[in-house]
């Protein structure tokens, strides 16, 4: 198993544009979480999905949205990009929802907004 995979690896967008980031969890994992990591800071929680339902949302504006598909892969969408959205976006998967389940992180997608 290749572990959690994310695509694309990196991308550059212009202010006001929209972006979609993708995540494939480890086979058998049904929970996916998204984190934003700004340079020099720790990851910050954005969303968690479990069995295709939103289980948690961090303190992010409505420009951020996500969904989980029947195969448990997930997309993170960001509309009306701002310069401050430039960050590394991490996806993590776990067997199920709950702090007792270890989260496995992907390599991240580096988003640069110009």
């Amino acid at each position: 198993d290749a572990g959690v995979t994310q695509s694309p690896t990196h991308l550059i967008k212009t202010r006001g544009q929209h972006v979609t980031l993708r995540c494939s969890p480890i086979s058998g994992h049904k929970s996916v979480s998204w984190y934003q990591q700004v340079l020099g800071q720790g990851p910050q929680f954005i969303f968690q999905y479990y069995e295709k339902e939103e289980r948690g949302r961090g303190n992010f504006p409505d420009r951020f949205s996500a969904r989980q598909f029947p195969n448990y892969s997930s997309e993170l969408n960001v509309n009306a990009l701002l310069l401050g959205d430039s960050a590394l976006y991490l996806c993590a998967s776990s067997l199920a929802s709950g702090s007792g389940y270890e989260q496995y992180f992907g390599p991240g997608t580096r988003l640069t907004v110009t």
């Binding site: 572990g3 959690v4 929970s31 979480s33 984190y35 020099g40 800071q41 720790g42 990851p43 910050q44 929680f45 968690q48 479990y50 289980r55 948690g56 961090g58 991490l90 993590a92 776990s94 929802s97 709950g98 702090s99 007792g100 389940y101 270890e102 989260q103 496995y104 992180f105 992907g106 390599p107 991240g108």
Partner: protein
């Protein structure tokens, strides 16, 4: 609200010296505490969690509820321990949500 504080952004020690990475937290309920590590050019990975009480790669961490701390310790640092270390917290009612500290970059010099 839950919060994790790592007071040292950078920590440098010599090989064979003891190392302690500090972590303090605030949470009103019963938290679960974790240490994550990111080696150069690798992805973030779990190092240890307080509930398992394991020693991983010689590292240990004890949850001190009175001082709301979860410091990471190793008696004899190795060069391969050089990495970024993040302390993280999960609340009993917050599902899989992790709250991370800002991280400590540990450098072990030869």
């Amino acid at each position: 609200a839950q919060r994790v504080t790592q007071p040292e952004k950078l920590l440098s020690v010599f090989k064979g010296a003891p190392v302690e990475l500090k972590c303090n937290y605030s949470y009103s309920g019963s938290p679960e505490l974790f240490w994550y590590v990111q080696y150069s050019r690798q992805r973030l990975q779990l190092l240890l969690r307080h509930i398992s009480r394991e020693s991983i790669k010689g590292f240990t961490a004890d949850l001190n509820k009175g001082e709301t701390s979860f410091h990471l310790k190793k008696p004899f640092a190795q060069e391969e321990d050089s990495a970024m270390y993040y302390c993280a917290l999960s609340g009993s009612t917050s599902g899989s949500r992790l709250t991370f500290g800002e991280g400590t970059q540990l450098t072990v010099n030869p």
